[in-house]
């Protein structure tokens, strides 16, 4: 294990990479990810041993039996039954050592979780993630908050095409398939900020379908959930934000987005607490004024194929500034 990490570090150093590696499968931070990592390490060493032995035999054969003047004609050997049996059994025996821990890990990572697990439903959309906390009754998007050390069970499905939900450091991926629900379960073992992204080709912006996972302390997670359960902020009278709310209400925004008490669209991400998120456009850009402005003006330019098209007639710059003020008030 340690040796492999050393090899890896050396390889990375040689290639000039430093890290950190936010999506590395080799830096697990949950029971699920550790189980697959341990298994991979196991298989890796078997594979490495076989590699060394077989390639060495090949190289030795090539050097030792290369053509030299005066070498007598080779003996025409046709085969050897015992050797055939030996090199049939040897790989089969090695495979037993791979297969047994494999099957054990398959069942250990099959998505079973205790009844008190935090339950989250993940719905893949082209190209963003919807998260519903069924027990808490709250819905958010693209940034998943989880408590550290607690079992989590994630139910995964899709609203359109097949996606694949993947946070490498917390566990292996499962496909998000319309009409089917898949489960993964894990227990994150350290707080932090993890990233993931869609792993099944899902159309034009497959490469842009990313997500963040914030693993927080129990109390931090509770505080976040409380805030999310609260109503949407009401902008102060006469301010730019209130004007933004008016723009929001009279524009196409309401058709697709939900802000609790204001609109109830379900096509796009829920914006009730959009200002509490650190990124927009499924983890693509920081949640700041300039990115919000270009996103509202022309989302497909930032994310090819995005169904949030340019509005007709286009919003004025003043409208957009007001909208941003409103969105930024939605903490």
């Amino acid at each position: 294990m340690r040796l492999r990490l050393w090899f890896l570090t050396a390889a990375l150093a040689l290639s000039g990479c430093g890290g950190p590696f936010p999506q590395s499968t080799l830096h697990p931070r949950s029971d699920f990810a550790r189980a697959t990592d341990v298994l991979f390490t196991d298989i890796f060493w078997w594979a490495a041993a076989v590699f060394v032995v077989v390639e060495a035999l090949l190289v030795v054969a090539l050097i030792r039996f290369r053509h030299r003047e005066g070498r007598p004609a080779p003996k025409p050997t046709h085969g050897h039954t015992l050797m055939e049996i030996a090199w049939t059994l040897a790989p089969a025996a090695i495979l037993v050592f791979v297969a047994v821990p494999t099957v054990r890990t398959i069942f250990a990572t099959a998505g079973e979780a205790p009844a008190d697990a935090v339950k989250v439903e993940v719905i893949g959309h082209q190209w963003w993630w919807e998260f519903r906390y069924l027990d808490l009754g709250l819905t958010t998007a693209n940034e998943l908050h989880l408590p550290v050390g607690k079992p989590v069970r994630i139910a995964i499905t899709s609203a359109d095409v097949i996606h694949s939900f993947w946070i490498p450091r917390l566990g292996g991926k499962r496909d998000a398939i319309p009409g089917k629900t898949n489960y993964i379960a894990f227990r994150a073992d350290s707080t932090g900020d993890y990233s993931g992204q869609c792993a099944e080709f899902c159309g034009a912006s497959h490469g842009n379908m990313r997500l963040r996972v914030i693993v927080d302390s129990d109390s931090g997670f509770g505080a976040w959930a409380q805030a999310q359960l609260g109503p949407a902020a009401t902008p102060a009278k006469g301010g730019l934000a209130q004007e933004g709310k008016t723009v929001y209400g009279r524009s196409a925004c309401i058709g697709c987005h939900a802000i609790r008490g204001v609109s109830s669209g379900v096509i796009g991400p829920n914006l009730t607490h959009i200002a509490s998120r650190t990124t927009i456009a499924s983890g693509l850009f920081p949640n700041d004024s300039s990115h919000l402005a270009s996103w509202i003006a022309d989302a497909p330019a930032l994310k090819p194929g995005a169904i949030m098209t340019r509005m007709k007639p286009p919003l004025t710059d003043a409208d957009i500034a007001a909208l941003i003020a409103y969105l930024q008030s939605l903490r």
Binding site: G16, P22, L62, H80, W87, V98
Partner: protein, 596 residues
């Protein structure tokens, strides 16, 4: 010119296959270079997301269906009849039909790069963009409204007909046209692997055809074979596709294994070690290839029981594969190895295929596969198998048999340059991909964030891809140079053991002046049991009837793309024209006088 268009000579058709497939190989390679150039740095913007998706879809589709399979077919055509001592394949005109259907299907698919304006697409390229695996339901009309996927599903159906026709042809050829005395266990391993491959073709292609017909019905007639809202499931496509797709992997690799099994003994001056075991393990791989398809679907959620079973069947395939590798090494052991370019490539095949096989074991294990599937780790794996394996094997075949096919040797100096550039290039290109994948970069993404920490590895990989391109350039020079400057090959430049080396290079149209009688497995070698056979005389003792050419296979072949144009353009009368052309071609072909 006319004689090439109407030819039914397996040797000419073999050369047509070679040049056509090699051209598609270059196109697929250029697509790969675009992909690598885009990924050379994070947030690359050489091409748009849409174009990138077309590039990787067409790279995969082209390499599998238009380059590797038909390059193997080029050797099936040229070499198999020579290895079994036949004058031609069993159905020469069907053979011509296969070629023309392949060519037209390939052109049909690639036309999609240029015909956007005809479909009012607002862009030049409407190439397929759903991946070579075309997962439903992304490929449904709802999510892919353009003609892109139509080109793909119609093009693949055309190509399937070509493969099926060739499959039946070669099975009949190998079973029925062997020279007297050539029992099955005296058949050269390349021909044996061709036979296994063709059985896989005729059983696997109907499966993908069913999948494609369902998809076509969904897209054109509003059926719901893959639509979950109607009670179906898009997973059906995955089962059908991989039920075809995994045997397809063996369709791609078994011919190369056959080539290696013929090249190694020739240059080690030693019979293939464990001929029987190598043949039977090839047959076994062919059978077992049918029981592993769901290992492409471990993240689909088929349940722990199914995952365990498919994991076990997949790991078991490593056994016959390992057996082959050990037998190849044992063939070299104790030999008198001459380091020709062909041998370099054959050994390169073994060395690289081992890496692909071992990384394959890591994702035969479902839990680790959950981290690896759909990442660059798998891209590394398939390229070690299909580039390090199949392409290295095919190049071994080219350097080995080119003298037979053209009468001229390729330059050994340029050949070594080609080999080493390609060997280094492929490892620089594909090895870093293992790490890129383990560090969390998914495949089929047109862009990635610098924060992933894989930028330098990606740049390295891109450099490797261009090294490969350079090596292919050296090969092209070698190929063209050999036409005028290549050393004359004579009957047998290598001292080969099998029948193809007993006749002139290139062989006369009738191949064998006298059909040889075969008494053992290595007829042209002296072993402890027998003396070498006497080669057939230079001139035939009597006139040999050779059938003339025919236009009708080509005419029939033209009917298929016309038929495909009907749904593509929503023009009903084209369907009748296409059917009429196809039927007219078949009719004229069937009633063509036997003696021309």
């Amino acid at each position: 010119m006319k004689s090439w268009l109407t030819t039914t000579d397996h040797k000419r058709i073999g050369l047509l296959y070679f040049w056509t497939a090699f051209s598609f190989f270059l196109i697929g390679g250029v697509e790969a270079l675009f992909i690598r150039a885009q990924l050379a740095q994070p947030n690359g913007h050489l091409v748009t997301a849409e174009t990138y998706n077309q590039l990787f879809t067409m790279h995969g589709t082209t390499m599998v269906f238009l380059a590797l399979m038909p390059l193997s077919a080029s050797f099936f055509n040229y070499i198999v009849p020579l290895q079994i001592g036949a004058r031609d394949v069993a159905f020469p005109r069907l053979n011509a039909f296969s070629y023309w259907v392949f060519l037209l299907g390939g052109l049909f698919l690639n036309a999609s790069w240029l015909v956007g304006p005809l479909f009012h697409a607002g862009r030049l390229n409407v190439a397929p963009d759903g991946g070579w695996f075309g997962y439903a339901n992304l490929t449904e009309r709802q999510f892919s409204p353009g003609p892109n996927i139509d080109f793909w599903l119609l093009g693949l159906q055309i190509l399937g007909i070509s493969s099926l026709a060739a499959g039946f042809n070669f099975i009949v050829t190998i079973l029925n046209l062997r020279a007297p005395g050539m029992k099955m266990m005296r058949v050269p391993v390349f021909t044996w692997m061709t036979l296994v491959t063709q059985f896989l073709v005729i059983t696997a292609f109907p499966v993908i055809t069913v999948g494609l017909v369902f998809l076509m019905f969904d897209r054109f007639f509003g059926t719901h074979f893959y639509v979950s809202q109607s009670g179906a499931t898009p997973i059906l496509w995955q089962h059908l596709f991989w039920l075809f797709g995994h045997p397809e992997v063996y369709i791609l690799i078994l011919p190369a294994m056959g080539i290696v099994s013929d090249v190694l003994p020739t240059f080690a001056r030693k019979p293939l070690f464990g001929y029987t075991v190598v043949v039977y393990s090839g047959v076994l791989i062919g059978f077992m290839g049918w029981g592993v398809w769901s290992h492409h679907m471990f993240s689909v959620g088929l349940g722990p029981i199914a995952d365990s079973v498919f994991s076990a069947t997949t790991m078991l395939i490593a056994v016959p594969t390992g057996v082959k590798i050990f037998n190849w090494i044992a063939t070299l052991w104790g030999g008198d190895i001459r380091g020709t370019t062909a041998l370099h490539f054959a050994v390169g095949f073994i060395a690289m295929f081992i890496i692909g096989g071992l990384s394959g074991v890591t994702h035969a294990s479902p839990p680790t596969d959950l981290q690896q599937t759909d990442t660059y780790y798998v891209v590394a794996h398939i390229h070690y198998v299909l580039f390090g394996g199949t392409i290295m094997g095919l190049f071994a075949g080219i350097y080995y048999w080119w003298p037979k096919m053209t009468g001229r040797l390729l330059s050994e100096t340029l050949g070594k340059w080609h080999f080493w550039l390609q060997f280094v290039g492929m490892n620089v290109a594909f090895f870093p991909m293992h790490l890129i994948g383990l560090l969390g970069m998914p495949r089929r993404v047109y862009t990635y964030a610098p924060e992933l920490g894989v930028s330098d590895l990606n740049l390295l990989s891109t450099i490797g891809a261009f090294l490969i391109a350079l090596s292919i350039l050296v090969f092209v020079v070698n190929l063209l140079r050999s036409r005028t400057h290549g050393q004359r090959a004579g009957n047998d430049p290598w001292g080969g053991a099998t029948l193809e080396w007993s006749i002139p290079s290139p062989p006369p149209v009738y191949n064998f002046s006298v059909i040889p009688t075969v008494a053992n497995r290595l007829p042209r070698w002296k072993t402890e049991h027998h003396e070498p056979m006497r080669d057939p005389p230079a001139a035939p003792p009597g006139p040999i009837h050779v059938p003339g050419g025919s236009w009708w296979p080509m005419l029939a072949a033209f009917g298929l793309p016309i038929l495909a144009l009907a749904p593509l353009t929503h023009t009903l009368w084209l369907a009748f024209v296409g059917a009429a052309v196809l039927l007219a071609g078949i009719f004229l072909w069937a009633f063509e006088p036997f003696e021309v």
